[in-house]
């Protein structure tokens, strides 16, 4: 644990001459902490010499509530974990229960899940880039560009599931409602138009001199530390580690699609930012293939009992590649209608493990950029 031992920083332009530290409590109402997140930062001049994250402002003991609810009763509640990506939360939970009870999923439902998960990835990554730019001082405009595209995808979710963000769409062994031909047409249109937005957005931000100056060589993460600290998702792949659960586990129908896994080289904020832009391109490729391959058919396994659903005794850990990283659910059944244990493996919470390591030696202004590039949602971090 070399990181917890605080070494005095080398004297630089920004350090104080008298060597006194200033303690700053950033958050929980700070506009760029993406929710109610607090960091206790010790500063030497403008340099961060110590950073302790403080969690729990949004804690509601989601796991205890899950133990007291029925299996299906937790499904709408998973929407509230990472409220940007309710579709992938639903999928991770449904996948774990399907593992626990040994349930097959019909073909069309798997395709619908892939389509909705990739749409979720598109809107999550787009809005993340917008937020990150907002943190860097590009107030509003890039975020509104991203939200304009996100809103189109949320409209799709709304017309399918009835809600923009709290979709509650997946069921054990399938999906809740079928997508009609009109919906498919609309979705195809939006996906076809998305690369145009990406071209514009990338041209606008990725080669911007200020963005490069603020992100390159900032918050560098080594591959060894990333693996050891359990970092997942785009943040891990920005360090050059090829680990994407869509390829590794091959859950759903992902082995049927051709796509590449973008990898970074430096593990800094710029690579993390770039990773999101590149992943969106791959998601568009997956979506186009899925629209071609999807066939009519049943969307839910008819053998599933909706009332008095009781999986056999046992335990299961299921995980998917969420937009923020590995989202897992660990469930233990004692044969009753409620899970004995309902555990969420939140990717953004575990990705915060290395926040201090990334921020040490950088200025306060960089902390916001580093935190933004990790991509956290407090609903999931605090649960």
């Amino acid at each position: 644990m070399s990181t917890t031992e605080m070494l005095p920083p080398p004297p630089t332009m920004t350090s104080r001459l008298d060597g006194e530290l200033l303690e700053v409590s950033m958050g929980p109402q700070h506009p760029s902490t993406h929710g109610v997140f607090r960091m206790n930062v010790a500063l030497d001049g403008e340099m961060v010499v110590k950073l302790k994250p403080v969690f729990g402002y949004l804690h509601r003991n989601h796991e205890k509530i899950g133990e007291n609810a029925s299996y299906l009763g937790s499904m709408p509640y998973t929407d509230r974990l990472d409220y940007f990506c309710s579709m992938t939360n639903n999928w991770a939970y449904a996948l774990s229960v399907e593992k626990l009870a040994g349930i097959e999923v019909p073909e069309r439902a798997e395709y619908l899940r892939v389509i909705l998960a990739e749409l979720t990835r598109l809107q999550n990554h787009a809005s993340l880039l917008g937020f990150l730019l907002s943190d860097m001082g590009a107030w509003g405009t890039p975020l509104m560009y991203a939200f304009r595209e996100r809103e189109k995808i949320l409209d799709l979710f709304e017309s399918l599931s009835g809600s923009r963000m709290m979709c509650d769409y997946m069921r054990f062994g399938g999906c809740r409602v079928d997508a009609g031909p009109d919906w498919m047409e609309q979705a195809k249109k939006i996906v076809d138009a998305f690369p145009k937005f990406l071209d514009e957005f990338e041209q606008l931000i990725l080669s911007n001199e200020i963005v490069i100056a603020r992100t390159q060589e900032v918050g560098k993460l080594s591959a060894e530390l990333a693996i050891n600290a359990g970092i997942t998702g785009p943040m891990l792949r920005a360090c050059g580690v090829n680990y994407d659960l869509r390829k590794v586990d091959g859950y759903g129908f992902y082995p049927r699609f051709k796509f590449r896994v973008p990898l970074g080289d430096h593990g800094d904020c710029y690579d993390r930012l770039m990773m999101r832009a590149l992943e969106m391109r791959e998601s568009i490729g997956i979506l186009k293939q899925a629209f071609e391959q999807i066939q009519p058919g049943p969307i839910v396994n008819p053998k599933i009992k909706i009332r008095a659903f009781k999986p056999p005794i046992g335990e299961a850990y299921g995980r998917i590649e969420g937009p923020k990283g590995e989202l897992g659910f660990y469930l233990i059944s004692d044969g009753s209608a409620n899970p004995y244990r309902y555990r969420v493996r939140p990717p953004s919470f575990i990705n915060l493990t290395v926040l201090e390591d990334l921020c040490l030696g950088h200025t306060v202004a960089d902390v916001m950029v580093i935190l933004g590039s990790i991509d956290i949602v407090m609903g999931e971090v605090d649960r």
Partner: protein, 221 residues
């Protein structure tokens, strides 16, 4: 990947004296797990991480579990001699299992892309003996998750660099994820100076005759 029995045999060869048990999982997921003892936990985890064939370098999930004390009643029909006649009598035996807390780790390999190997550790009891060795020195990803287990289940991890409450506030006393947890009537109550201050303030509200002319007021009314 090798089977769990092979992994168990190889651990026992590499870490002498390690007590390893296999906990079967009866469900369809078939994710069985290894139960490891406290003394050799670090050595076993280190072996699993560094062994070239396994290379379980990634600890995905660390989760707490609570198992309460339970008694299992068994009724067995016994033949007994009652008054010289053989009769069938129901005999009830009670077996007591003491409760414990458990930590479960899901290990995967990013190098070889296989997994999971699930390891679990059990505490001696649910009170003072609720201690486990920390795996944070070996898997950094357990740092926040072990803090969470400590916070919600009350398992003390020896060797953890920074074991504090994480989701509940620091003054909170109970462990909310335990199965026998009961919510207090007013769990947001905190002793504040307000009660004393209010008592003191009462003296200011009683009328003082000399200054306020309280006598005149009562006489007039």
């Amino acid at each position: 990947m090798e089977s769990l029995e092979e992994i168990k045999a190889r651990i026992e060869a590499a870490v002498p004296g390690a007590g390893i048990g296999i906990i079967a999982n009866p469900g369809p997921a078939q994710q069985s797990s290894l139960l490891i003892d406290h003394e050799h936990a670090s050595a076993v985890a280190k072996f699993l991480r560094d062994d070239p064939a396994l290379r379980l370098d990634y600890c995905s999930n660390a989760s707490g579990l609570d198992w309460l004390d339970r008694t299992v009643k068994k009724t067995v029909k016994m033949k007994k001699m009652v008054d010289g006649v053989e009769k069938e009598v129901d005999e009830t035996t009670e077996e007591f299992f003491s409760g414990y807390l458990e930590a479960v780790y899901h290990l995967y390999s990013m190098a070889h892309k296989h997994g999971p190997v699930i390891i679990r550790m059990r505490t001696a009891d649910r009170a003072e003996g609720a201690r486990l060795p920390s795996l944070t020195p070996i898997y950094r990803s357990a740092e926040l998750q072990e803090r969470e287990i400590f916070d919600l289940y009350g398992v003390r991890f020896d060797g953890h660099p920074d074991l504090r409450r994480i989701l509940m506030w620091d003054e909170f006393e109970d462990f909310p994820m335990r199965k026998d947890y009961r919510e207090p009537d007013d769990y947001e109550y905190e002793p504040t100076p307000h009660d004393d201050v209010l008592e003191k303030a009462k003296t200011h509200y009683t009328p003082r005759p000399q200054l306020d002319g309280a006598e005149n007021i009562t006489a007039q009314s």
